[in-house]
Amino acid sequence: MPDARVIPIKGKEPKKKKPATKKSAPRSGARASRSSAAPAVEPQDEATPLPGTEEHVDWDTRVAGALAFLRRRITGEYQVDDFGFDPELTDRILLAPLRPLYKKWFRIETRGLENIPDTGGALLVANHSGTVAVDSMMTQLAIWDHHPAHRHLRMLGADFVFQLPLVGELARKGGHTLACAPDAERLLSSGELVGVWPEGFKGIGKPFSERYKLQRFGRGGFVAAALRTKTPIIPCSIVGAEEIYPIIGNAKLMARLVGAPYFPITPTFPWLGPLGMVPLPSKWIIEFGEPIRTDEFPEGAADDPMLVFDLTDQVRETIQQTLYRLLVARRSVFF
């Protein structure tokens, strides 16, 4: 009599309401909870496993979790936030294929995760490289999987991203939004961890010969956003992403034809076709630096361009120096 047994889980009340449990929902979704917010169910789940049957229970809860996830997908009974962020989909579908790449292919090592606060708004600023934005996705995964508070990194993307079909859709569902002051401030002031790659296409599409040389840091808009919301800036240095697709040329005509900011030519792409899209297995290090506080500046500091420029330079210099230090210490590109 399956129906009789599942009654406590199937409570109609929590299903309809489902408060915005942004952080807990995807994690508890791995359990057998029926709805993403069924706190009453959790203790029951944990109480049931008898000693010695853990493996069996684990399999059962996994199946139940996967089925509950499928049901919510079919009935549309899930929550997205104002930006279109779908936490459950991000955890179960979007980030899942990146995990083997993270662990086995790039063997990513993180340092200084403790510099990211457990709660509250913070702005993570990182160097951008690697032809396609693999570095930003890996940083998101690093913080979601390995930070003790399992925070989602909400990244700010170029408008080009949101013009593209599918890419734009997945970016929104993954929690990212357009890099503009209103969105950055909205996320920061609602206590989210925001990621920004201020070099943009200049950083990601630079030739291999200029690897690890930071490009211009936009117009410092990210600093102004942090100042206005009084949130700390966390400099983040990523080593290894430069070598995954070394750009040896840029087919500008081709780029113009497809409307892209650049068209990369690497030793393997486009010569080997789809095989050329396999990234080189470089060894990565992601180091999160000490937060730079912005709450000590006076009111209206964001409107002082000189201060904004200085702070932008300070962040840029910190990342550049960290990159040099990490590069000197690195044994080789691949190990």
Partner: protein, 344 residues
């Protein structure tokens, strides 16, 4: 002495209900409903005057009845309702101009409430996630209802400048939705197969019809001058909404979406204006902080609740209702794990 309220656009659903609601308000003495055609539904104790707001007769109506509050709901959203785009634009833009001209001349008018739309913000890839009232559109609407509404708002601002003694409230509503109201959106989600734009999943916001009318009523009987976004909490994605009605989607590549939209329009299946297609591609969000803090209004229904109310009222999800999916889930679960429920 109570208010004398003139409501335009009463022959349509929302205008008619608005007139009805206002007649029941203790602060309102008299409600005069104006439209070119007679209302199809009961408008309660409101008096109906058949008048075209496109000609100066409207000034006589205002003068004769000593109207002190004007609720402008006469901007129509689809050419289907007006019998062609030409007459729709006439009614929307010229009608508003005539109405405002009459209001400007009238010594009795003290308050103007305008039902506008969030589509004045346009829709595009460079939009911020949420529009506040001060933001300028990044992709200004170029056609249809949205463009008419931009022009209507411009004339209303001009009127507010010339008559600073009149309190002007402009409410920019998210799409009206709910059990009864009929909009291009409700037609869209009632299609047996829902065409969507390939690779895009727009964020939609809805305002429940009861909430929207309540906001209009409060703007009419209370004093809240200013421009306010009005929408239910939260957003719902097109794909998510399609799943909630239990309908399959049919993705169309965006270069063809406009052509398909035009075909649907010609066949009279659904009203897909180019604006509507852009909205269904990029979506839009409006920030309702000012609605809560200054206007002091909290909608009773969130966006997903509003959508569910629509699905329930029309009994749309017959293919895959949630209970059936739950049953299938239970059966699969017992099959796979060899027992009844999850951990219970």
């Amino acid at each position: 002495m109570g208010q004398v309220v003139l409501v335009t656009g009463v022959s349509r659903y929302l205008g008619g209900r608005m007139a009805q609601i206002l007649t029941q308000d203790p602060g309102v003495d008299r409600v005069i409903g104006v439209d070119v055609v007679a209302p199809r539904q009961e408008i309660g104790g409101a008096e109906f005057v058949r008048a075209d707001i496109r000609n100066p007769i409207i000034a006589k109506v205002i003068e004769a009845a000593q109207v002190d509050t004007v609720v402008h709901m006469g901007v129509i959203a689809t050419p289907m309702q007006a019998g062609g785009r030409m007459s729709m634009k006439e009614i929307n833009v010229i009608g508003t101009m005539q109405l405002l001209a009459a209001c400007q001349k009238s010594p009795t008018v003290r308050k103007l409430v305008v039902k506008s739309t969030s589509s004045v913000y346009g829709a595009g890839p460079r939009d911020p996630a949420m529009f506040t009232e001060e933001m300028e559109p990044k992709h200004a609407p170029t056609s249809g209802w949205a463009k008419d509404s931009v022009e209507v708002e411009a004339y209303v601002r001009g009127f507010a400048r010339r008559r600073p003694d009149v309190g002007v409230t402009t409410l920019r509503f998210a799409n009206f939705f709910g059990p009864r109201v009929q909009t291009p959106m409700s037609t869209y989600f009632s299609l047996p197969v829902i065409p969507v734009v390939l690779g895009f999943d727009a964020r939609l916001q809805f305002i429940h019809e009861d909430d929207g009318l309540d906001a209009l009523r409060r703007a009419t009987v209370e004093d809240h001058p200013g421009t306010f976004n009005v929408a239910g909490d939260g957003v719902i994605l097109v794909s998510q909404a399609a799943r909630r009605v239990g309908r399959p989607v049919f993705p169309i590549a965006s270069p063809f979406a406009f052509a398909v939209g035009a075909t649907f329009r010609r066949l009279g299946l659904a009203d897909f204006s180019p604006e509507q297609v852009r909205f269904l591609t990029y979506g839009r969000g409006i920030d309702t902080t000012r609605m809560r803090t200054e206007f002091g209004f909290v909608p009773q229904h969130t966006t997903p609740e509003t959508f569910d109310a629509f699905v329930e009222a029309h009994n749309l999800n017959r293919l895959l209702p949630a209970e059936r999916v739950e049953n299938i889930e239970d059966q699969l679960l017992s099959l796979l794990t060899g027992k009844g429920g999850a951990g219970a």
